[in-house]
């Protein structure tokens, strides 16, 4: 079993195509308010801009570390990797892309499964990694989230899924699409079993991920100003041939239209989730304490 301690220092930031992840250097420019801010100040505020409250994208590991008690969790379902079932090649073979993202992120695919405790109660969490191919959902993401739903069912522990995804992974074709049905079907069982499922929607959550598990939480909870939608804003603009209104498809827009229950700031996320879980489910009797650290 692999135990992870909370990182004393956040991992090296991901650079490249993802501009909103905090870049390296002493100073950073906020993507939202364009202010130049002292990097340490942003990190001290859980990667939130001190000037405008913009929530920078953070990694799946940082999210897990921030949610579990003492940042300690067990990583599960390691060693499940993509197979390139379509032998897909666009401008580059899918196999090469996978390799590139594995090296870049140090992850096997775009989701981490974890179990641990929050507020002393056991909980299972799947956290998506946007830096891995835009958090796209192929068979591995589908399989791992399915395994965590089954784990939640079996153990009768609440499930949290943290979404950060551009949607289904095109390189696995219709197999990616079917992951939506696969996970939604399992969430139906979790629902029948009255086990809480909290869906956390972070920037961005779009496409097939939104149109399946991300919208099926007992509670759908968003981070401030996250882009959340089915169709991407560019596709909509091209279709309707007009500019989209300010704030369209942002968390606050979804709250206003009744699609999410709550918006939690990152710094209050953990405590508020613990409260929500307590309100939904009686605490599980205490088990022997978890081993401390690795």
């Amino acid at each position: 079993m692999a135990w992870f301690k909370k990182n004393k220092q956040p991992k090296a930031p991901i650079t490249g195509e993802d501009r909103t992840v905090i870049p390296e250097g002493l100073w950073v420019k906020c993507d939202s308010c364009k202010e130049i801010i002292y990097r340490k100040e942003v990190l001290a505020r859980a990667n939130v801009c001190p000037k405008c409250n913009y929530h920078f994208r953070i990694s799946a590991r940082e999210r897990l570390a921030a949610l579990f008690d003492n940042g300690i969790y067990e990583e599960l379902d390691l060693g499940i990797v993509a197979t390139d079932p379509l032998r897909f090649t666009d401008t580059k073979p899918y196999k090469d892309r996978l390799k590139q993202y594995r090296e870049k992120t140090g992850m096997e695919d775009a989701v981490i499964n974890a179990a641990g405790r929050m507020g002393g109660s056991p909980v299972v969490i799947s956290a998506m990694e946007y830096a891995f191919m835009g958090g796209s959902m192929g068979s591995v993401v589908g399989e791992k989230i399915a395994l965590n739903v089954e784990r939640a069912l079996e153990r009768r522990h609440p499930l949290i899924v943290i979404s950060a995804s551009g949607g289904a992974r095109m390189q696995e074709g219709v197999l990616s699409l079917m992951q939506m049905a696969k996970i939604s079907s399992l969430l139906g069982k979790l629902d029948d079993a009255s086990i809480p499922y909290l869906s956390i929607l972070t920037d961005p959550t779009t496409g097939g991920v939104t149109a399946s598990f991300a919208m099926l939480g007992d509670l759908n909870i968003a981070e401030p100003r996250a882009l959340i939608g089915f169709a991407g804003p560019r596709v909509i603009e091209q279709t309707i041939r007009q500019k989209l209104p300010e704030g369209f498809q942002r968390s606050e827009f979804l709250l206003e239209h009744g699609m999410v229950d709550l918006i939690f700031e990152r710094k209050e996320m953990r405590e508020k989730l613990i409260t929500c879980l307590r309100l939904l489910m009686d605490p599980v009797p205490a088990e022997p304490a978890l081993p401390a650290g690795s």
Binding site: S139, A181, S185
Partner: protein
């Protein structure tokens, strides 16, 4: 250019059809009947040849063929006493989805299908078969009613996809699709899904969870349209043919990948070339599958439906 040829594969069929029509137009001259018969045989062989080796892009064009029978045509022909029900009881009625109850032989069933619209006016009214959230919610309402009254559900898929619009997002397009996936997976009546044309991503899947998934031989089912895929991955609309190939969206590929249970054969030249024949074929297939599903125990049926989707995907365990 190869791409033009790929686009114009039906041209030889059209040319020959025109020649036969021209010949038939004249008075019955001697020897002409024999000539026509010969040409008709040739036309049949030509159709068989061309349709036996459609490329994925050509299959896409056939799946979208403007004369291809639409779900409404199957509903009208294969069923009796169809009564269309309207509205999601929340916001509106979405004409991009047809839903109601009908008799299939001696069995009352719920029938639900996308509808693209045939002429320009109808296309606009039906939004080219691209549903908004209320369409999916109407579909689910009818399915729940089918469950309540113990009626099997037959869905027919033919859509470019769910509509990407401001109102659709405001009213929860994603939520509507997601809820359908979850609810169809546990609906306590048999569900047969038939992809009759274009299976466009989540907008198709939202009617696509069932016990038996079947696809007409020249239909397609994909996570994104070849055009959309080309634009995103190749950054070029010219690459739609390559994208169609890469996506593995044809019926034989889908069968291999375990997405569909059965390929329903189409007459040579495609469903649009012999509509009556297509209706007969699908009617028999539906009858056989409905009979077999109705004889199953419900717990068994639900377990099988769940297991089918649980198994979809391809991963390697290190």
């Amino acid at each position: 250019m190869a791409s033009m040829e790929e686009q114009d594969f039906e041209k030889p069929i059209e040319d020959l059809t025109r020649r036969i029509e021209e010949l038939s137009g004249f008075g019955a001259q001697q020897g002409r009947e024999r000539e026509i018969k010969k040409l008709q045989d040739r036309l049949q062989r030509l159709r068989e040849e061309i349709y036996a080796k459609l490329t994925p892009w050509q299959a896409t064009l056939v799946a979208r063929h403007p004369q291809r029978p639409y779900p409404a045509d199957y509903i009208e022909t294969l069923f009796t006493d169809f009564i269309e029900f309207h509205g999601d009881r929340k916001f509106a009625d979405d004409p991009a989805i047809l839903a109601g109850f009908a008799m299939f032989h001696e069995t009352p069933v719920a029938v639900i299908g996308h509808q693209k619209g045939r002429d320009t006016k109808e296309k606009i009214r039906r939004n080219f078969g691209m549903p908004r959230p209320e369409g999916y919610r109407k579909a689910l309402r009818i399915m729940k009613m089918a469950e309540k009254f113990g009626r099997p559900v037959l869905t027919f898929i033919d859509t470019p996809g769910a509509y990407p619009g401001i109102g659709a997002e405001e009213r929860g397009q994603a939520e509507a699709i997601a809820v359908n996936l979850r609810e169809m997976s546990r609906l306590k009546v048999p569900i047969i899904v038939t992809i009759t044309g274009e299976g466009g991503s989540g907008g198709a899947l939202a009617l696509g969870v069932g016990d038996h998934i079947q696809i007409l031989a020249h239909s397609i089912y994909a996570v994104i349209s070849p055009e959309g895929c080309a634009a995103i991955l190749w950054k070029s609309n010219e690459k739609k043919q390559e994208a169609a190939r890469a996506l593995k969206l044809t019926a034989p590929d889908l069968k291999k990948l375990g997405i569909v249970d059965e390929i329903v054969p189409e007459p040579p030249g495609g469903a649009h070339a012999h509509r009556e024949r297509m209706f007969e074929i699908l009617e028999r297939v539906l009858q056989r599958n409905l009979e077999s599903l109705r004889s199953r125990d419900m717990a068994d049926l639900l377990a099988g439906r769940h297991a089918k989707f649980r198994a979809m995907g391809s991963v390697k365990i290190l």
